[in-house]
């Protein structure tokens, strides 16, 4: 299957999802669709199936990464200003599936991400082997 065919199918089903969407958005793409945005609003890359780059997201969200960092400065940790640098938005904010909190690849912060199912990311860490 060519990429174009695949994309066409994806877009077709996205369109169906849009047409039949219910109130609660399951993911970022659903929410965008509910807001009346077309798929191509975000999918502007030359290879359309590729995740949108940061600049595309910033056009509607924050304007700049620095501004995003200021807007979320009260959060602990500030997800938009970290020691690892400014990650691409889609590393955490997945378009078509649940969000993933990149920081928790190493840490276990209790963070509520937009559109995340459940109340926390990370959960309760356990020090395995604590019982001899």
């Amino acid at each position: 299957m060519t990429k174009k065919t695949l994309l066409a199918i994806v877009l077709l089903f996205s369109g169906l999802a849009l047409a039949t969407s219910v109130v609660a958005a399951d993911n970022l793409a659903d929410r965008h669709a509910q807001d009346g945005l077309e798929c191509t609003h975000c999918h502007v890359e030359k290879v359309r199936s590729k995740a949108p780059k940061m600049d595309t997201c910033l056009k509607c969200h924050g304007g700049s990464y620095e501004q995003l960092g200021r807007a979320s400065a009260e959060k602990k940790p500030n997800p938009h200003y970290t020691h690892v640098g400014d990650k691409e938005c889609t590393v955490c904010h997945k378009g078509h599936k649940e969000p993933e909190f990149f920081c928790n690849d190493c840490h276990k912060f209790r963070v509520q991400m937009p559109l995340a199912k459940g109340t926390t990311q990370g959960g309760q860490p356990l020090l395995t082997g604590a019982n001899p």
Partner: protein
Amino acid sequence: MGQQITRRGMMKTCLTAVAAGAVGPVSTTAQAAATAPAANDYDAIILGAGTAGLVAAVEAYDQGIKPVVLEKMDLPAGNSIYAMGGVAACGTRIQKQEGVAESKDDLFADMMKVSTDKADPALTRTYVEHIGQDVDWLQDTIGVKFRTLSRLPYPLLSRLHWVEGGSITGGGMLIRLLLAACKKRNIPILYHTKAVELITNKRLAVTGVRALTEDGLADFKARGGVVITTGGFSANREMLCGYLGGVMSRLPLRGSSYVTGENITLTKPLFAKLVHMDQFHCGPIVSATHLNPEEALNSGYGIIVDLRGRRIIDEVNTYVAKARALPHLTPENKAYQLVDSNWPAVKKMADKCTDMNSPFFQDDTVEGLARKAGLPVEAVVTTVNSYNEALRNNKLEDLNPPCTFKDPHAMDKGPFYAFPFESGMTATFGGPKINIKAQVVNLEDEPIKGLYAAGNAAGGLFFGDYLGGTQLGGATVFGRIAACHIAQACKKGKKA
């Protein structure tokens, strides 16, 4: 921050050239260079966007030559961003302003001492001669803000210049500022571009780099030289097993998962002299959350017990020494720092764990604490009672292992706390030996023309332990030296 140029556009021409050269499997000889001529010409090619690499890039540009940085990840992803951000120095403007006199000879002596005199004296001397002006340079040229000097850590002198990180690590801030300095100069940083081979001429002088990009292999030509600033091999398990072996090769990581030994794989085919290959630094870590419990281990309070509830080490040791010993003392590489509320900072430590959602245990009794931590209750109670009794009888040194605190404290004030920790890998010290010009030398101690290394990619500066703040310091000193030397070579019109 973020990508500064469109890599794809820059790749087009060189990819065409590589395709024309019918690139086969990656080779390590000059033959590849002949069939795949470089199409991207620079004066200095710098591999790895860490402290050493970005410092080298800025210095190269300011020396009037044309650098490029190739970074295999999407952002600077080496160990710098995990660093607390200390730079050990003498003779800085800050020290003069604060009326602190730290001598070069004393710093030299202490750096040699922590290496048990096995660090390269010439490199160590170069460090102490340059670091003062280099800290000033970090302030003036990069815009680094340092905190007020404090007399920490060992040997409690006012040497450590802490990068002010704000809400992030000092190392993370340093990288942000270095990236900004590169951006200001329009220095290209090509992300997702991993060096896979050094290109050489028929005399085995380094003339460029073959790199794997998102679009395939591409060749880069270096008129003056290539600087390897890829860090060590702390995240390369195969190399750790080979060079360290045993329990220390299986520690959890405290830093980057992407420091994978390109300093070795790229230079070994050129017969680089690899030194200090079994040397590394480790420290305490909670691997599940990456919390660093160093405050608890250095508190001077409490005892350390293993999962059987027994004391395992003289608590007077530094947190680094404790971490280094732990994997040899316990098969699980896990222990608990037990402290009571006599430690004034215990609440702060508990809050830090809470903020990071990192496990710790608290109870009003030792018995309850052991139960909550899942430790054998009877053993823990016996251990704590034995410690307190020995303290009362002035016989702490008779314990096994002895406890030699000069100012020991009883464990008798609830609530009691248990902070778990493991030993974790910080960084490796082994790599291609460099000379005082940051040139990589071969097994005959001759410089490999056109090849440089700096930071933890380079071998020779560290052995055993390192003086706090000399890793970032070394990256700065030798990153700048490499860039200056390449610039001189370019101006003379020859390869160094």
